[in-house]
C-alpha cells in the first residue's frame, strides 16, 4: 500500500517544479552518440560489405591564361590582378586517399594572380594533420595618384629642378614633375599548421607569416601646408600559436597561446618640403611610421555540461609591447632632449567570462553571462617636447593611459509556446570605467525581444525589437587638449544615446521556389547632445528569390536598399549650436543569376551573374545659408559569366568573362587638380570611370 503524499502548498509547488525538471531530464535530450543505448547492440555481423571505399587520386588540375584590362587598377579588386595584359594561373582540387586512412588534399585557386591561393593538407583525419597554405590578398585604390615626389634613399624627394612656392600654384615645375603612383596594398600570407588528436586530448601548433607591400596615401604636414605622399608600405607580421585541449565525458578544458610580432621595414617618413617655408627653415619634415611591436596572449577555457546545462569559464591575458627608438623631436635644428629613448610601451589586458546556457524545461531555456575586461596601460608617462610639425616649440605634453574596465552582464530566455512559435528575450547591462576621457563611467542597458513563428512547414517569420539606453557620469570635457573643447560637445562614442531597432524577416520555401524578405530600421537619438552628433536614422529592406526550374536550371534574383540619415550640430562662436550638418546616404543593390548544367549531353555548364550596386551620399552644411557638398557616389555594374565544357572524360575547358563598369566621385578630390588648394598639394582627382573586361581560359585535366 502506497503512503499518501501530504505536503503543504509551497513544497507542493517546489516538488512540482523539481518533478517537472526531473521528468524533463528523463526525456531524451537529443540523439548524441554518447547517449546511444548499446545494450542490445551486436556488432559481430557488422561487416559493411556494401560500403564502398574509394582510394587513389581523384580531382582535377587546371592551367589558365587570362587577359586582364588593367588601365584602371581599381578593376583588380574584381579580377584579382592589376596587370594590364596576360596573366597565367593554376587551379587544383586533388585528393589522394589510401586504404589505411591516409589522406592528402591539394587545392589551388587562381594561383598566379594577386588574390590567388593554394593549400595542402596531409595526414590521417581524426588523428594528425599537417597543413600548409599560401593566400594572396590585394586592394587597389588608384593608379592615378599624381605626385612630384620620388622615393629615393629612404626619402620622398622632389626633382632637382623643383621650385618651391608659397602656394601650390606658384610651384612652377609642378606640372612637369608629376608622376602617376599606384595606391595599392598586396598581402602574401603563409601558414604552416600541425594538429594531433589523441584519445582524450588535442594539440595544435601554427605559424603564420604575412608580408605587406605597396603604397598608401599619406599627408606630409609642415605648419599650415601639406603634401600628399604615396607612402611606401613594407612590413610583416609573424605569429606563432599553440593549443592544447583535453576532453572528458561532460567536460572540455584547454589553453591556447599566441605570440605575434610586427616589423616595419620603414623607419620614418622623411620628405622634402614642396613649399617655401612660411617662417623658420622647415625645408624638410619627418613623421613617425607604425612602430615595431609585439603581443602575446595566453588564455584558458573550460566547459562543463550535464543534463542540458552548460557552463563555460574563460580567463585570458594579453600583453602588447612596443620599444621602437624615438625619432628626434625635430630634424630642423637641434632637437630638445627627450625624456626617454623609447616608450617601453606596455598594455596588459585581462579578460574573464562566465557563460551559462541551459534548458530548464523542454520549452524553456536560459542564458546568462558575465564578462570582465580590463585594459591597463603600463607605459611610462613622461613630458615630451612638442615641436609642432617640425617647425616651432610649443612646450611639453604628457602621454595618456586611456585605461578601461568593462563589465557586462547578460540574461536571456527563450520559451517555446508550440513547435511553431517561440519568444526569445534578453537583457544586457554594460558598465565601463575610463581614465583620461571626458566621462569616467559609461553604462548601457538594452532589452530585446524576438518572436519566431513558423506559420507552416514552408513559411517562417520573425519579428525583433530592441531598445537601448546609454548614459554615464557627468560629462566634463578633458583639459589635456591643446585648445579647450566646447563644453556643450558630447563626443559621439561617449554621449548619452537612446537606440531603437526593429527587424522583420520572412522566408517562404516551397519545393524548388524560395523567397526571403527583410525589413529593418534603427533610430539613434543622442538625447543630451547640443554640439556633436545628434541623430542617426537607418532603414532598409531586401528581397531575394531563388527558383530551381528543374534539376539543371537555377535562377536567383535579389534587391537590397538602405538609407542612413545623420544630423549633427556645431558652434563657431564657442557657444550654443549655430551650424548644422545633414548627411543622407543611400545604397541600392540589385542582382540576378542563372546557372544551367548538364547541357549538350551533360558536357556543358553555364553560369551568368549580374550585379548592380549604387551608393550615394549628400552632405549639406547650413549656418544661416545652406552649402551643399558636391557629388559623392559610386555606381558599379558587374557581369560574371562562365562556360565549362567537358571535352572528354579527362579534359575540360572553361571560359570566364568578367565585365565591370564602374564610376565614382568624391567631393574631396573629384575634378581637382594637384594645385587646386593653395596650401595642400593633393594627388588630384582620384575618381574612376571605366569599363573593363577579364577573359580567362582554363584547361583542366581530371585525374
Amino acid at each position: 500500500m502506497k503512503k499518501p503524499i501530504t505536503v503543504t502548498k509551497l513544497p507542493l509547488c517546489l516538488s512540482a517544479l523539481a518533478l517537472a525538471i526531473a521528468s524533463t531530464m528523463s526525456y531524451a535530450d537529443g540523439y548524441g552518440i554518447q547517449s546511444a543505448n548499446r545494450d542490445k547492440l551486436k556488432l559481430d555481423a557488422w561487416e559493411c560489405k556494401r560500403c564502398t571505399h574509394t582510394t587513389g587520386t581523384k580531382g582535377d588540375i587546371g592551367l589558365g591564361v587570362a587577359q586582364n584590362d588593367g588601365d584602371d587598377t581599381h578593376f583588380g579588386n574584381t579580377s584579382g590582378t592589376d596587370k594590364d595584359g596576360t596573366v597565367v594561373y593554376v587551379n587544383a582540387n586533388v585528393n589522394h586517399k589510401t586504404n589505411s586512412g591516409y589522406r592528402t588534399d591539394v587545392d589551388a585557386d587562381r594561383l598566379g594572380l594577386d588574390n590567388g591561393s593554394a593549400s595542402i593538407t596531409t595526414g590521417r583525419p581524426g588523428q594528425y594533420e599537417i597543413f600548409a597554405a599560401y593566400r594572396g590578398i590585394a586592394r587597389y585604390d588608384s593608379n592615378q595618384a599624381l605626385s612630384p615626389y620620388q622615393y629615393q634613399a629612404d626619402q620622398y624627394q622632389l626633382p632637382t629642378q623643383w621650385q618651391t612656392g608659397a602656394t601650390t600654384s606658384q610651384m612652377s615645375e609642378l606640372s612637369a614633375s608629376l608622376n602617376a603612383n599606384e595606391l595599392a596594398i598586396k598581402r602574401d600570407r603563409y601558414n604552416l599548421e600541425g594538429k594531433y588528436q589523441g584519445t582524450f586530448y588535442k594539440a595544435e601548433i601554427g605559424y603564420q607569416h604575412e608580408q605587406r607591400e605597396g603604397k598608401r596615401a599619406f599627408s606630409a604636414n609642415l605648419l599650415t601646408n601639406s603634401a600628399m605622399l604615396a607612402q611606401q608600405v613594407d612590413d610583416s607580421t609573424d605569429e606563432v600559436s599553440a593549443k592544447l585541449y583535453f576532453k572528458g565525458d561532460n567536460w572540455l578544458a584547454g589553453i591556447n597561446a599566441q605570440l605575434s610580432e610586427y616589423k616595419n621595414d620603414q623607419q620614418a617618413v622623411n620628405w622634402q618640403s614642396a613649399f617655401t617655408p612660411t617662417f623658420g627653415a622647415a625645408y624638410y619634415g619627418q613623421s613617425a611610421v607604425a612602430p615595431d611591436n609585439k603581443a602575446y596572449r595566453i588564455a584558458g577555457h573550460s566547459q562543463f555540461s550535464a543534463d542540458g546545462q552548460q557552463v563555460i569559464m574563460h580567463l585570458g591575458f594579453t600583453r602588447m609591447t612596443q620599444d621602437q627608438n624615438y625619432l628626434p623631436a625635430t630634424i630642423n635644428g637641434p632637437s630638445p632632449m627627450l625624456p626617454a629613448e623609447d616608450l617601453t610601451g606596455q598594455v596588459d589586458m585581462i579578460e574573464m567570462k562566465l557563460n551559462y546556457s541551459g534548458r530548464v524545461t523542454r520549452e524553456f531555456s536560459l542564458r546568462a553571462s558575465y564578462d570582465y575586461r580590463d585594459r591597463d596601460n603600463k607605459s611610462e608617462l613622461n613630458a615630451y617636447p612638442q615641436v609642432v610639425t617640425d617647425s616651432y616649440y610649443s612646450g611639453t605634453a604628457t602621454n595618456l593611459e586611456y585605461d578601461r574596465t568593462k563589465q557586462q552582464a547578460k540574461l536571456g530566455a527563450k520559451y517555446r509556446f508550440t513547435r511553431a512559435t517561440n519568444l526569445d528575450v534578453g537583457y544586457a547591462y554594460e558598465h565601463n570605467n575610463y581614465s583620461d576621457l571626458d566621462r569616467e563611467t559609461l553604462k548601457e542597458s538594452s532589452l530585446f525581444a524576438r518572436f519566431n513563428y513558423r506559420i507552416s512547414s514552408t513559411w517562417h517569420l520573425w519579428l525583433k525589437a530592441e531598445a537601448a539606453e546609454r548614459t554615464g557620469s557627468d560629462y566634463l570635457a578633458v583639459t589635456t587638449t591643446a585648445s579647450q573643447s566646447n563644453p556643450l560637445m558630447r563626443k559621439s562614442y561617449l554621449a548619452d544615446r537612446e537606440r531603437q531597432r526593429y527587424g522583420l524577416y520572412t522566408s517562404y520555401s516551397q519545393g524548388a521556389f524560395s523567397v526571403t524578405a527583410n525589413l529593418h530600421k534603427q533610430q539613434d537619438d543622442y538625447n543630451d547632445t547640443l554640439i556633436g552628433l545628434t541623430d542617426i536614422n537607418t532603414q532598409g529592406y531586401d528581397l531575394s528569390i531563388q527558383y530551381a526550374v528543374n534539376a539543371d536550371l537555377h535562377l536567383n534574383a535579389y534587391l537590397n536598399q538602405d538609407w542612413r540619415d545623420s544630423e549633427q550640430a556645431g558652434s563657431s562662436n564657442f557657444a550654443g549650436p549655430n551650424w548644422f550638418t545633414n548627411s543622407e546616404d543611400n545604397s541600392t543593390l540589385v542582382g540576378a543569376g542563372i546557372g544551367y548544367q548538364n547541357l549538350m549531353d551533360k558536357k556543358l555548364k553555364l553560369g551568368l551573374d549580374y550585379t548592380y550596386s549604387d551608393g550615394q551620399s549628400d552632405t549639406e552644411v547650413s549656418q544661416g545659408f545652406s552649402s551643399p557638398y558636391g557629388s559623392y557616389y559610386s555606381t558599379q555594374h558587374n557581369v560574371n559569366a562562365f562556360a565549362d565544357y567537358q571535352m572528354s572524360e579527362t579534359i575540360g575547358l572553361r571560359f570566364d568573362w568578367i565585365f565591370e563598369q564602374y564610376q565614382d566621385a568624391d567631393w574631396a578630390n573629384s575634378g581637382l587638380s594637384v594645385d587646386s588648394i593653395p596650401n595642400v598639394l593633393t594627388f588630384g582627382s582620384l575618381s574612376h570611370d571605366y569599363s573593363a573586361h577579364y577573359f580567362g581560359l582554363t584547361l583542366s585535366y581530371k585525374l
Binding site: G316, T516, S627
Partner: protein, 321 residues
C-alpha cells in the same frame, strides 16, 4: 473552335501528366510517417533511440535498400563514411550513429529514422545534438546558446555530410551561405568600400566563428580591436600618442562590412571628426562644401592630422607626425 478545343485538351493532358507525375513522385517518396504530426514522429524517435534496437548488420542492413541512392553512397567519399578515420561514425555505429537505431524501419519503412535538413520533423536542437556529440571541441565549445543555436540554425543548413567535399569549405560558397540570411551584410559588402569579401578574397569566417564564440558578434578574437589587429598589427601599438576612440573600438569610426564612404568609414571627414572635436579654433567652424580647401578636400582633417590611428613621434601629440 476545334483548334481552341484541341489546345485546351492538349493543355489538360499536359496538366494531367504533370499532376500524375507529381503524384507518382510523391508516391515514390511517400513514407508512412509523412502524415504523422511532427510531435508524434519526434516521440517515436525518442522511444526508438531509448530502446536502442540497432540493425543486425549495420550499414549493410541500410544499404540493402538505400544503395541505389547516389546521395546516400556519396557518404563514402568523405570522412564520415570512412571507417579508417578514427572517430568517424562509420567506425562506430555506422549509418545508425547519426540516423538512430533502425528498429522496425526496414520492415516496409514502418518507422521513421532521424533525418536532417529543412523538411525534417526533428527539432533543430535534436538534429544538432547528433553532430555536437562528436564535434564539441575548442572551435564549437560556445555553440550552445550562441546566436545561430538560438535562431534554430541546423548544422545541415550550412554543412553537407554525404559528400567528399563539404561545399561550405569553399570560400565562394561560404559567403553565399552566410549572406543568404545576413542580407544587410550582403548589401554592405557591395558598397563603395568594404573588406574584399565580395570576390571571396576574404570570407566571413576570417573574422567570425559561426559556431559561437565568447566574444560579441561571434568574433574569433575577444574584442573588435583584437580582431582587427589580427590582420592590422601595425595599429596595435601601443603608441606614445593614442587616439582614444581608436583604442576604445575600431567600430567607432569604421563599419567593417562596408560603407558608401571611403575606407569603410561610418561618416565622411570633416563631419566624422567634428562628431567629437569642437575645440576652440578651426575644429569648431562649419566646413562648407562650396570651395575646395584644406578642411574639406584632399584628406580633409587628415591633411594635417594624418596619424589618426596614433603616433609614436615624441612631438606627435596632435597626431600630425
Amino acid at each position: 473552335m476545334m483548334k481552341m478545343e484541341s489546345i485546351w485538351i492538349r493543355g489538360l493532358a499536359v496538366a494531367s501528366l504533370l499532376m500524375a507525375s507529381t503524384v507518382i513522385t510523391l508516391a515514390v517518396n511517400a513514407t508512412p510517417w509523412d502524415d504523422m504530426p511532427a510531435k508524434e514522429v519526434e516521440s517515436l524517435l525518442d522511444k526508438k533511440f531509448a530502446e536502442g534496437q540497432y540493425s543486425p548488420k549495420g550499414a549493410d542492413s541500410c544499404l540493402m535498400c538505400h544503395r541505389k541512392s547516389q546521395a546516400v553512397m556519396d557518404l563514402f567519399d568523405g570522412v564520415h563514411g570512412d571507417a579508417n578515420v578514427k572517430g568517424s561514425p562509420m567506425a562506430d555505429l555506422q549509418c545508425e550513429a547519426c540516423h538512430g537505431p533502425m528498429g522496425k524501419h526496414n520492415r516496409g519503412g514502418k518507422e521513421p529514422m532521424i533525418t536532417f535538413g529543412q523538411g525534417s520533423p526533428v527539432p533543430t536542437d535534436k538534429q544538432n545534438s547528433v553532430c555536437m556529440s562528436c564535434h564539441n571541441d575548442d572551435q564549437r565549445m560556445a555553440w550552445k546558446g550562441n546566436h545561430h543555436d538560438n535562431a534554430d540554425v541546423a548544422c545541415s543548413d550550412c554543412h553537407s555530410v554525404h559528400t567528399g567535399h563539404d561545399p561550405i569549405s569553399d570560400r565562394a560558397k561560404e559567403v553565399e551561405v552566410c549572406t543568404a540570411c545576413h542580407t544587410q551584410q550582403k548589401a554592405d559588402l557591395h558598397k563603395r568600400s568594404s573588406h574584399p569579401i565580395k570576390w571571396d578574397q576574404m570570407v566571413c569566417s576570417d573574422c567570425h566563428n559561426p559556431h559561437g564564440s565568447l566574444s560579441e558578434s561571434n568574433l574569433k578574437q575577444m574584442s573588435v580591436n583584437e580582431n582587427c589587429y589580427a590582420c592590422h598589427a601595425e595599429k596595435r601599438g601601443p603608441k606614445l600618442w593614442e587616439h582614444a576612440p581608436v583604442t576604445d573600438n575600431c567600430a567607432n569610426c569604421h563599419n567593417p562590412h562596408g560603407s558608401v564612404n571611403e575606407a569603410m568609414l561610418i561618416a565622411k571627414p570633416p563631419q566624422l571628426c567634428q562628431q567629437c572635436h569642437a575645440s576652440d579654433g578651426h575644429a569648431s567652424n562649419a566646413v562648407f562644401g562650396n570651395t575646395p580647401n584644406a578642411f574639406n578636400a584632399g584628406q580633409s582633417c587628415m591633411n594635417c592630422h594624418n596619424q589618426v590611428h596614433g603616433s609614436n613621434h615624441p612631438s606627435g601629440k596632435l597626431l600630425q607626425r
